[in-house]
Amino acid sequence: MWYSVANDKIYDMSVDFVGLRLANPVFLASGTCGYGDELSDFLDMNALGGFVTKSITLKPRKGNPTPRIVETSSGMLNAIGLANVGLDCFVEEKLPMIEGLSTAVFVNVAGETIDDYVAVVERLAGEKGISGFELNISCPNVKHGGITFGTDPAQIEEITRAVKAASGDKPLMVKLTPAVTDIAVSAQAAVNGGADALSLVNTFTAMVIDIEDQRPVLANRTGGLSGPAIKPMAVYLVNRVFQAVGGQVPIMGLGGIATASDAVEFMIAGATTIAVGTATFAQPDCAMAIIEGIGQYCRKKGVSNIKEIVGCLQ
């Protein structure tokens, strides 16, 4: 368990999340920490609350042509296209390493059809090393599946129910897209389908144009915007969802978190856990500084248990 010790007082940083006792509320976001294997040169994965793997699909995916990313002011666009090793390779090559970790590991699952999602989750539901699943119905960069599920409340409920039935006793977190008129409706649909938690947000669809070529920079033309540029929008959406369904399921908040105060904002807005995405690219051990900084915030505010600040927005 992670305690922050300051001025002889001990602050409890641990959180309960979907039935798991986590050392602290800080996760790394899907698609920004691989399968947990690449980052160990830069930080101790076990010091995290947990991490979410890159999306796994039934079959390996090559992803989109390059350029797949472009930087923009205070953010970046990506159109990776869910490039991943596929279920079989994940089980063979990545899972053994994951089993050796003590931190919580959520496997992010994506697909083109409901059957795809169910097949991946069924195969992994019995694996000891996996703490739970994150359902990616919010990827803006693929032609089929992804965000098309995530923008229709009826489909959100249907896919959540089907995947929940396949996930055995493992918790299911549903990752919401901000590309809807009212995210509270999506949130309620996922809860109705049986979601144990919600994570938000995924990226915002965006475009960067090369003004010399007069063409989009990304080969996919559009991409998902992430990084500090989206943070205030994400904080608002987390609070919106917290007000709507916060009494029913916990929330993992993410979108542009780069500092401890960013993380604390999300928690005040209603997130029980938070995830660091794009910021890890700039500073691979950024999550460590965030954990430390949250502890310092608690000390300053006289908070003895981190849970006290979740959803405390006045």
Binding site: E38, F42, K62, G63, P67, T72, A83, S102, A282, P284
Partner: protein, 319 residues
């Protein structure tokens, strides 16, 4: 705890600027020194590997010091690191290593880098990726550098001369024009023009510019073809190492294949992380035993690839 007890291959460290000098209006040579425990990791750097430098917190220089045409992009609030090849490395002692980079001022990040002064700290990730390797049985190496592809070639030339003294070294370096050669050469337009940085290592140098404003006129690939045709070595005894724009690498690969000579190319891609997390830096690579191709990561599997494996860029540039 993880059961990992393998030695770290890479890591992060803080380098202190030794110098950051303009060698030409748009080209700078940056020297960083890493001291203490982090230095051992960087001392192992192989030619062709690269580093990710954190430059987002540096200030934008005053307007009159921003090169023409970049005033606009210089203002962009950047967050990502920038990848650079090492152009030289000196292990000063067990506790200190000096890393040299050559950079071209192109945009928001590199404009900020021009403000670095002696003693400034720079956060660096490295050594990253896989560098060049010398296959068995080679007697001659041809280093083909195009434009800003030259920096890693300097490191490679030194390393080859120190560790493979029996291999004859030829450098074929080219650029669009005299101004675009990333070294402090005096334009003289002669056929026997050389680049000082390669002189201690290379037995032979062929320096070219597309417009003939320095060295010989013409593309490096034409000179490579001529060199191979007249070479006194068997094809199996030669290896080509190349770095430069992708279109040039594609031509070098063709020439190498035609002459049945081994060839390694250093590729570039837009990189968000440089350490295998984001999947942004895909390079199309042929799959053994099948017609299809797979994407490999430039930052992790590369940046150096066997030229026979790479499916070079299609209609548009990848970066």
């Amino acid at each position: 705890m993880a059961k990992s007890c393998t030695r770290r291959r890479r890591g992060s460290a803080t380098g202190l600027v030794v110098s950051n000098a303009a060698i030409r209006p748009r080209f700078y040579r940056l020297q960083l020194r890493i001291q203490g425990s982090g230095s051992a990791l960087f001392a192992q750097t192989q030619p062709g590997q690269f580093a990710e430098l954190q430059v987002s917190s540096l200030s934008v220089p005053p307007a009159d010091q921003i090169p023409d045409g970049l005033a606009d992009v210089a203002q962009r609030q950047i967050i990502l690191r920038r990848p650079f090849s090492y152009c030289d490395i000196e292990v000063e002692n067990a506790d200190s290593v000096r890393l040299d980079f050559l950079y071209c001022v192109l945009g928001a990040g590199t404009v900020r880098m021009t403000t670095l002064k002696e003693g400034d700290p720079v956060s660096i990730l490295g050594p990253l990726g896989n560098g060049f390797s010398v296959p068995e049985g080679k007697k001659a190496a041809v280093l083909v550098a195009g434009g800003m592809g030259a920096p890693p070639m300097q490191h490679l030339a030194r390393s080859l001369s120190e560790n493979h003294g029996d291999i004859a070294l030829t450098v074929i370096a080219g650029a669009r024009d005299a101004e675009s050669i990333p070294f402090a050469t005096e334009p003289d337009g002669k056929d026997d023009a050389i680049i000082e940085e390669f002189a201690p290592f290379a037995g032979e140098q062929i320096v070219t510019t597309d417009d003939g404003s320095f060295g010989r006129k013409g593309f490096v690939t034409v000179h490579l073809e001529n060199w191979l045709t007249g070479a006194k070595y068997r094809p199996s005894e030669i290896v080509i190492f190349s770095c430069g724009p992708e279109a040039m690498l594609a031509e070098v690969a063709k020439v190498a294949e035609k002459h049945n000579v081994d060839c390694q190319v250093s590729m570039e891609r837009m990189m968000a992380c440089g350490i295998g997390l984001c999947q942004s830096c895909a390079v199309d690579v042929k799959q053994a035993g099948s017609k299809g191709a797979v994407y490999k990561l430039c930052c992790k599997d590369g940046p150096v690839f066997d030229s026979k494996d790479v499916v070079f860029g299609g209609k548009r540039q990848n970066i």
